[in-house]
Amino acid sequence: MKSQPMPRSGSSDPLANADPPEAWLVERALAGYRDGWAGLVARHNHKVVVSLLARGLSIDEAKEIAQETWLKLIERQQAGRLSEIVLPGLAIVQAGFLASNARRRERYGAGQPAMGEVAAPRLEDAAIGREQLARVARALGDCPASARRVFEFVYEHPELSYAEVAREMALSTQRVKQIVCEVRARLRSALEKEER
């Protein structure tokens, strides 16, 4: 993997930025540069871990598979089998495949307990029905417009960091996080209330 930087171009150099843009990181990663991959991992690894936790993996298992996921993607890039990187979706799909594979190996292997034993009823399965969609839409509709706008922007742009969202919305990063947590809690509460 390459480690030297690409040629810089004056003050607009993304390397000088603590939070380089996604497109730039993707370009670097596709070109095989270590800093591109490092930036993408830093930006998206938590979502990959969360997607694995949602499958019922323990936190240690989730982190392990997330790490394996990035290694696989880097291998694919180095083998010339990666022409585009759309994250976090690509990494989440790859991680899901690795998790399933690990579970299958364990299930048909040496009688080890299968991964995913923490699994509980799948709330998301219930939450993506049309009725639940309508509930979420209603609950979102009940939120203040400004908070709703920030929340929706965060979930429609998972490739952006909180800092980038904050810049776009002219808010502080802390305020963006606070809004996400508040609106999310309201949605969860609304879904749970209607399910009872």
Binding site: I59, V93, Y108, V118, I128, V136, R149, E156, V180
Partner: protein, 176 residues
């Protein structure tokens, strides 16, 4: 247990990466050793994954405030297949496969274990209610379809059509 149980709010903040790094680490240490909190974390993570799918969908459902033009979501997000004709073709093909099944692949299914797709790829069978393969050989299962980047009408196969997978919705609407 050396550390106190985190609150539900703290677990939610962990899931959305809204905690500061030291707090994240403390919470992870606790979660690694506390089955009760691990279950709460799994539930919170499932809710988060659901939100990744349903918030953009709920916006389209209505009752939402339009974003300013410059902030409007990109046509193709991580959860969407895209609007290109090739992507749409793949989506339609996949959804039809989901609905009707795909006999040529179905006939190749082993009784248990793994599935060999027409692209020569292998998937655990329990994950193979639907499988799509994009141009980058990214594998997509039914549950992950929405987060997959299907760019061409690559082999789309189906095993065990999922009840309600396309109920009442046109394929392009589901994939949008």
């Amino acid at each position: 247990m050396s550390t106190p149980h985190p609150t539900r709010e703290e677990i939610a903040r962990y899931v959305v990466a809204a905690l500061e790094p030291p707090a994240m680490e403390r919470l992870e240490e606790h979660l690694a050793t506390c089955p009760e909190c691990a279950r709460a974390l799994a539930a919170e993570a499932r809710f988060e994954v659901a939100l990744w799918k349903i918030v953009p969908a709920a916006r389209e459902e209505g009752a939402v405030v339009p974003l300013p033009h410059r902030l409007a979501p990109r046509r193709r997000t991580w959860l969407a297949v895209g609007s290109s004709s090739a992507g749409l073709a793949a989506a339609v093909l996949l959804c039809l496969s989901l609905w009707r099944g795909h006999e040529s692949v179905r006939s190749e299914m082993p009784d248990a274990g793994i599935l060999h797709t027409s692209a020569g790829l292998v998937m655990p069978r329990e994950e193979c209610r639907a499988v799509a393969v994009d141009a980058d050989s990214t594998l997509c299962t039914a549950g992950e379809l929405m987060s997959c980047n299907i760019r061409s009408a690559a082999p789309a196969v189906c095993v065990e059509p999922t009840a309600g997978a396309c109920d009442g919705e046109s394929p392009d609407r589901r994939m949008e």
